[in-house]
Symmetry: C2
Subunit: 242 residues, 2 copies
Amino acid sequence: MTSSNRPAGEVPRVRAGRDRGIPDATVARLPVYLRALMTLSERGTPTVSSEDLASAAGVNSAKLRKDLSHLGSYGTRGVGYDVQYLIYQISRELGLTQDWPVVIVGTGNLGRALADYGGFVSRGFRVAALLDADPAKVGQQVAGMTVQHVDKLEAVVQESGVAIGVIATPAPAAQEVCDRLVAVGVRSILNFAPVVLQAPDEVRIRKVDLSIELQILAFHIQRATGGQLPALAGEQEPEGAT
Amino acid sequence: MTSSNRPAGEVPRVRAGRDRGIPDATVARLPVYLRALMTLSERGTPTVSSEDLASAAGVNSAKLRKDLSHLGSYGTRGVGYDVQYLIYQISRELGLTQDWPVVIVGTGNLGRALADYGGFVSRGFRVAALLDADPAKVGQQVAGMTVQHVDKLEAVVQESGVAIGVIATPAPAAQEVCDRLVAVGVRSILNFAPVVLQAPDEVRIRKVDLSIELQILAFHIQRATGGQLPALAGEQEPEGAT
DNA sequence: ACGTCCTTGTGAACGTTCGCACAAAGTGAG
DNA sequence: CTCACTTTGTGCGAACGTTCACAAGGACGT
C-alpha cells in the first residue's frame, strides 16, 4: 500500500523546515484527534491535557504526545494543549484548511449516503459532481445536486480540478472507473467497491470495505466463544453456573 | 511453531488453549484473500499460486504465504493452493460458515445502504432488524424489512441472538445506542458514527469513518504538492514558520 | 528411477509502532 | 525567589509487522 520512494536507509524524520516525515500510523490518528478536539471546542474548553485528549480519542496518552510531537511543540508543560491552536495546526497539517473538490462515482445507496454525509463538507471536502452510469439515475436530485452521466467524468475532473475520486459503484464497474480517473490525472482514490483495484504505484488508493469489518468481528467472536453464538450459548460468564 | 511466552497483562492476540494465535494484521487480510478467491472460483480456476493470489489481493506474496501458514499447511508445493479448499478453510477460520444475526441501528442514508449491501448476506451475515428512533421512519420498508422503533432493541437482540450491533446513527445518539447494546450482551460493535465510543474492555469495537479516509488522502496530496492543489495553483500561501 | 523445475513454508533480518518512565519546562502559592 | 506540582516531549527497549532468501517438498518429463 505504501509507495514511499524514500532513498534507502533513512527513517521518515526531520526534513526541510517543518517536520514533514510523519509516520503513517500517526497520520491515521490525526483525524481522530481532530474530531475529539472539535467536540471539546464546542463545549468551550480552552485547554486540554494529553491524558484527557487521549482518553477522548481512545488512545494511550504517550502515543498521543508522540504523535503531536511530530507536528511540533504545540503544548505547554504544566498546562496542556490550547484546543483552538491545536485544531488549527492539525487541520493545516492534514491540508484541511483548503477546499478539496471530490467527485463521487456511483449514486446507489452508498453513493447517496456519501453525498449527504455532513462530515465531508465540514472538513474542507466539497462534492464537485455526482456521476452514475444508469440513465434512470441521471438527472435525479441527490443532496441538492443533479446526478450527471458518468460520460462527463473527464470533463468534470478537469473543470473542477478534482484531486480525489470516490468510487461507490458496483464491483464490476469499479476498475473501469478507476482507470478513467487515473487517465485524467486523479492520483488519490477512495474505493468503496468490494474489489482490489489495480493502478500505477503513484496512485494512492484507500479502501473502505463494509463487510470486511464485519468479518473481522465475526472472527473474534468465533474465537472467543469456540464457534458458538454467545447469546444462545448462555448469557453469563463461562465460569458461572451451567 | 513455538508458543510465545507471554508476560502477564493484556493480550493483543487471541489467546486460546490451542496454539492458534493469529496476528491481527493477518486476520484483517483474510477477508481480502477470500474475496479474491471467490472471484477465481467464479472463473472456474482450480488452483492458484501464492504469487497470483497475492497479486489479485494486492499484497506481497511472502506475506500471503505467511498469513496462510497461520491457518495450517493448505498448499501443495510445486502446485499452489486449491481454490475451493482454501475458500472453505478461510471461511471456517473467520466463522463465516455459520449465520450471524446483525442488528442495524439508524436507517438514514448509511443505514439503508448497509441494509441493502449484498456483501453482508453473501458472507453469512443476516440483518435481524432495522431500528430507528425517528417515528417517521418506523414502519417504512427498507431492503425488504420493516423498520422498527429503537425501543425494540433489547427485545430484538435477545430474541434473535444478535451478536453484532451496527451503529449508523447520527453522532449524538451513538453512545447511548452503544450502551444499550452492551447492556443486553452485545460484545461486538461496528460503528459508523463519527464519535469515539466508550465501552468496557471486553467489548470489541471497530470503527469505519468515511471522512477520516478522505482526510488521510488529503494529507498525502498536500504533502506531495507542498500544500497547493495540483490543478489549481496559487490561491493561499502556506503559513510562515515560527 | 532420477533429475529438473516449480512453489510452499519459514528462519532471520529489517523496519515500524508502542508504551514505559523520566528529565525538562512551565505554573502558581507563599 | 524558592519550592512543590503539573504536564509535555522523548530516549529506549520490547512487541509487532514486513520482506528477503532459501531449504524442503512435490509434480512431471524422460
